[in-house]
């Protein structure tokens, strides 16, 4: 039984059919073909699927697509400026070597942006605690923490 939902993704309105049980992560990846949002687990633990829903980070694998009806979604594809200039957090991840295989990276960056937007520039300990819901297997988090702190400084108005 399909349902029709309208939502904005990266500033662009979409009206699509989806099943009631369709996850937001599936909707983004399969229906909209925005494959930058990754799915790394099935227990809402790894955070690779993190996107912004009305400006707050959510795990899109733990959100139904229908719950996002009417919402504004930002995915990793929508973070950089229209001219391709990287968001300061993206730039910090690159500068600090905060990514290796890149699979957790979209969720990590979206979580980091949310962290800074809503909690400001944080101590190392606070950054580590705030990233508890995003698992990375490559970097040992060392450079991710550096990147988040550098990105936070660059995001200051």
């Amino acid at each position: 039984m399909g349902m029709k939902i309208t939502l904005s993704v990266n500033g662009k309105p979409h009206t699509r059919e989806c099943e009631p049980q369709t996850l937001l992560s599936e909707f983004i990846r399969e229906t909209l073909r925005l494959t930058g949002t990754h799915v790394g687990c099935d227990t809402a633990q790894c955070g690779a699927c993190t996107v912004h829903l009305n400006g707050r980070a959510v795990k899109s694998c733990a959100t139904l697509a229908v719950q996002a009806a009417g919402a504004e979604i930002t995915t990793i594809e929508g973070l950089a400026a229209a001219d391709g200039t990287l968001h300061p957090m993206q730039a910090a991840f690159k500068a600090c070597h905060g990514l290796q295989c890149g699979f957790c990276t979209p969720g990590m960056v979206m979580s980091a942006v949310d962290l800074v937007q809503h909690h400001g520039c944080q101590s190392e300990r606070q950054v580590r605690e705030a990233l508890e819901g995003n698992i990375c297997r490559c970097t040992g988090y060392h450079n991710i923490v550096k990147a988040v702190q550098q990105g936070a400084a660059a995001m200051k108005p």
Partner: protein, 784 residues
């Protein structure tokens, strides 16, 4: 820095990051092909059972179902091969029961593949799988590693006592004689805990058969696409190798678990010919826990004999290694060739004997995971050395210094020849960086708070840059372990490099380009690195065993050397000079001792527009291949020092300092190398403190089957690290002088962490993972 040279040794930002940071990476699951269908695997709910009946008739009629495949379909094809033959001490070949693509009459672990359903949608495939009627006769599972040999139940009829092999290396009589007469003998028992690799991208495959061309394409999340193709074509499905293309696009981490040929992608390729549409399978994380090859899982007893001054006389180790239910691709060599040969470590131990019994159990196959055998050896050795130091009242650094190998090359008693190293240098620097001098004061400060602080060392060595093919072959390898590279210079002087190495996080697109930019003296932007596609890359053995730069990078350097040699001939012709007078530097071919030169791009253009060209001596074009087979392993080494603070009331261990000093020989990109060490440290600390794959001993059910149950290291479990790459001793047998850095962190760190905890509590042993409960128990026992 000269814009055109000096890239080697620079922390050049990664060229691959742009696509990963903007969501433009192309991982296998991101690829959806026209007419895409989806596969779902019905897996065994039992650890050990006979399949009495398997009825797919109802499921086949379900909505959307296109095909159902079972073991019956694969009776005529081969099993998944094991790439390394190990012979037992009595000369008998290892037991090698068939590893079927889909279960054939019996299931041997929870998650074993029973059937594959292909349907229009994944939901339809899953729903239909529930309609498959399987009747099982449950059998007693064999689970525990230590109890498997001689257990009442047999995993395979071919190995009634569950032993795959009993293998040994070294001087048994000599080691035992030394143990009898030594001034001191330290004895320890170990369990090297079972780990589940957990690359963040779950395994995934998408297979397509082109009816008109009669060929196959397989996209697969894999570390070595040519090996995948060779094994699948030649040993299992009988597909002509040139009729199959394997593409491993962006791969979201591997750590060993994506080296292997698995049944899932093999079944997909097989089915694609009859389904005649592309079939995709993406592993759930829960499914990955059950079905990815696991790592480690050794039980060992070791004895170290010392003279009265703490000099090592002999080491004797007996290990039982759990290989799981079937022999995975490299499984048999991990506890033997990659483990026992490392037991000399950094020390002159004259007599070493290691015996390894490998057993089958009703658990997921066990194979190489970051470090593969070398972490197990390092854990055994560095734990027993540190324990011996404490037992003899010697400083742990001093006992190591007294035994360090200081002259090279050094032929160890377990088969390796170390080409170079400076173990004193890395240890001395690590002690400085870790501020060991200030430890006593920090310990006192902790004690004042009721906390226990401890310091632990680990001086590891690894053999990587796998591997000299003739040596590997003599030891049972069924494949070569060289690497291939191609340098394609375009007419305009731009360069495309094709490498058989595969990057799944290591940053080859940057590091390899730095090497080529330096060698050719051209801008890094003029170079593209291609990898991961058998239709583009001539051949490849792939990426594992910290081999990419030492072996794959050298193949590229060899091909670049051929380009330069040919370029000199062309340049000599253009400048009407003798070829022997031509030198190549800074991107220009020059006549030595004159101001005459031609730039690289003019030579490349001449090669492709050969109007003025020495046709009598040369072919047009500028394109070279090279295959490089190393003459030895490389031997990275270093010292890791861990400092912990333990709360004896709760058993919580906090890593206060983790210091790693590594000698990787020459370093191309320090930023990337340090990142590799960081990641390895996290996995090693994960093994020491958090991670353990646990099966229920009675039922054989996996108890740690999700991120709710298996403790992955998270950001707040770890400290920031102090990592330094020593100036080091360049590898003597490859032209870059590089050794390999991918596994060191995971190899060196677990014993440092456990040594630190033992030191804090004043106990002889704390088993891994040292969870708060385990540490609390050890603290309580010590306090009694």
């Amino acid at each position: 820095m000269n814009a055109r040279q000096g890239f080697i040794g620079q922390s050049v930002e990664r060229r691959e990051d742009g696509r990963f940071l903007t969501g433009k990476g192309q991982y296998t699951d991101d690829i959806t092909l026209p007419g895409q269908t989806h596969a779902y695997f019905l897996r065994s709910p039992y650890a050990h059972a006979r399949i009495q009946s398997l009825d797919t008739a109802v499921a086949a009629q379900a909505e959307g179902v296109l095909g159902i495949f079972t073991g019956e379909h694969f009776k005529a094809v081969g099993g998944l091969p094991c790439g390394w033959l190990i012979n037992s001490l009595d000369g008998a070949a290892m037991k090698e029961p068939k590893h079927p693509v889909l279960a054939d009459g019996k299931v041997r672990y929870v998650g074993d593949r029973v059937a594959m359903v292909v349907a229009e949608t994944l939901e339809q495939a899953k729903a239909a799988a529930q309609l498959i009627d399987v009747q099982y006769e449950e059998l007693t599972p064999v689970v525990d590693t230590g109890a498997a040999a001689g257990a009442a139940s047999s995993v395979h009829d071919e190995a009634p006592d569950n032993r795959c092999y009993t293998w040994g290396i070294g001087d048994k009589d000599g080691a035992e004689a030394a143990l009898k007469t030594a001034a001191h003998v330290t004895t320890l028992q170990f369990r090297n805990n079972r780990l589940i690799p957990n690359a963040m991208e779950p395994r995934c495959a998408n297979a397509f058969y082109d009816t008109n061309a009669d060929n196959y394409t397989l996209y697969v999340s894999n570390q070595n696409p040519h090996v995948e193709r060779l094994l699948m074509c030649a040993f299992v499905l009988g597909i002509p190798e040139h009729k199959m293309r394997v593409v491993a696009p962006d791969v979201g981490g591997g750590f060993g678990s994506k080296i292997f040929l698995y049944g899932e992608e093999t079944a997909l390729v097989f089915a694609s010919k009859s389904i005649r549409r592309p079939i995709k399978w993406t592993c759930d994380r829960s499914e990955a826990f059950l079905s990815d090859a696991h790592g480690r899982d050794h039980v060992s007893t070791a004895q170290l004999a010392l003279d009265k001054d703490g000099r090592f006389l002999a080491l004797k180790a007996e290990t039982t290694a759990n290989l799981g239910a079937y022999l995975s691709t490299f499984s048999s060599c991990v506890p033997t060739i990659l483990h026992a040969t490392l037991l000399a470590g950094q020390y002159r131990t004259p007599k070493i004997w290691c015996q390894v019994t490998a057993v089958f159990t009703n658990t997921a196959p066990v194979d190489a995971y970051r470090g593969a055998g070398r972490p197990e050896a390092t854990y055994l050795l560095e734990r027993i050395v540190e324990t011996a130091a404490h037992e003899m009242g010697l400083d742990p650094a001093e006992i190591r210094r007294r035994n360090f190998i200081t002259e090279f090359p050094y032929a160890s008693p377990v088969g390796l020849t170390y080409d170079t190293g400076d173990y004193n240098a890395t240890m001395t620097r690590a002690i400085e960086l870790a501020d060991v001098a200030g430890f006593a004061a920090r310990k006192a400060a902790s004690a004042a708070k009721g906390l226990k602080r401890g310091l632990g060392y680990s001086a590891y060595i690894e053999a990587c840059g796998i591997a000299p093919s003739s040596v590997a072959g003599a030891l049972g390898a069924r494949a070569g372990l060289f690497e291939a590279g191609e340098v394609r210079v375009h007419p305009t002087g731009k360069v495309t490099i094709f490498t058989g190495s595969h990057s799944h996080g290591q940053g080859h697109e940057t590091t390899f380009a730095q090497v080529v930019a330096d060698k050719l003296g051209i801008p890094i932007d003029d170079i593209v690195i291609e990898h991961g596609d058998t239709s583009k890359v001539l051949f490849g053995m792939g990426t594992y065993g910290s081999r990419s730069l030492a072996v794959g990078g050298t193949a590229i350097v060899k091909a670049v050397d051929k380009i330069v040699a040919k370029g000199k001939k062309i340049a000599a012709h253009l400048m009407e000079a003798a070829e022997t007078d031509i030198v190549f530097e800074g991107g220009e071919f020059k006549v030595a001792g004159t101001d005459r030169s031609v730039p690289f791009a003019q030579v490349s253009l001449t090669a492709y527009v050969p109007h003025n060209f020495p046709h009598d001596k040369l072919e047009p074009g500028l394109n070279e291949n090279a295959f490089y087979d190393p003459s030895n392993f490389t031997y990275p080494a270093g010292t890791y020092i861990c400092e912990v603070e333990v709360d004896p009331a709760t058993g919580v261990t906090c890593i206060e300092r983790m210091t790693a000093v590594d000698d990787f020989g020459n370093v191309i990109n320090p930023m990337i190398v340090e990142g590799q060490v960081h990641g390895g440290l996290a996995q090693g600390i994960g093994q020491a403190l958090l991670e353990q794959g646990v099966y229920d001993n009675e039922s054989g059910q996996l108890l740690t089957g999700s991120y709710m149950d298996y403790a992955m290291p998270r950001a707040d479990d770890l400290p920031s690290f102090t990592v330094e790459t020593a100036k080091g001793t360049p590898c003597t047998h490859n032209p870059l002088g590089v050794k390999g850095c991918g596994e060191a962190g995971a190899i060196g760190s677990p014993p440092a962490v456990i040594n630190a905890i033992c030191n804090a509590l004043g106990v002889k042993d704390v088993p891994m993972p040292a969870t708060p409960y385990t540490v609390w128990q050890a603290a309580r026992a010590a306090a009694r």
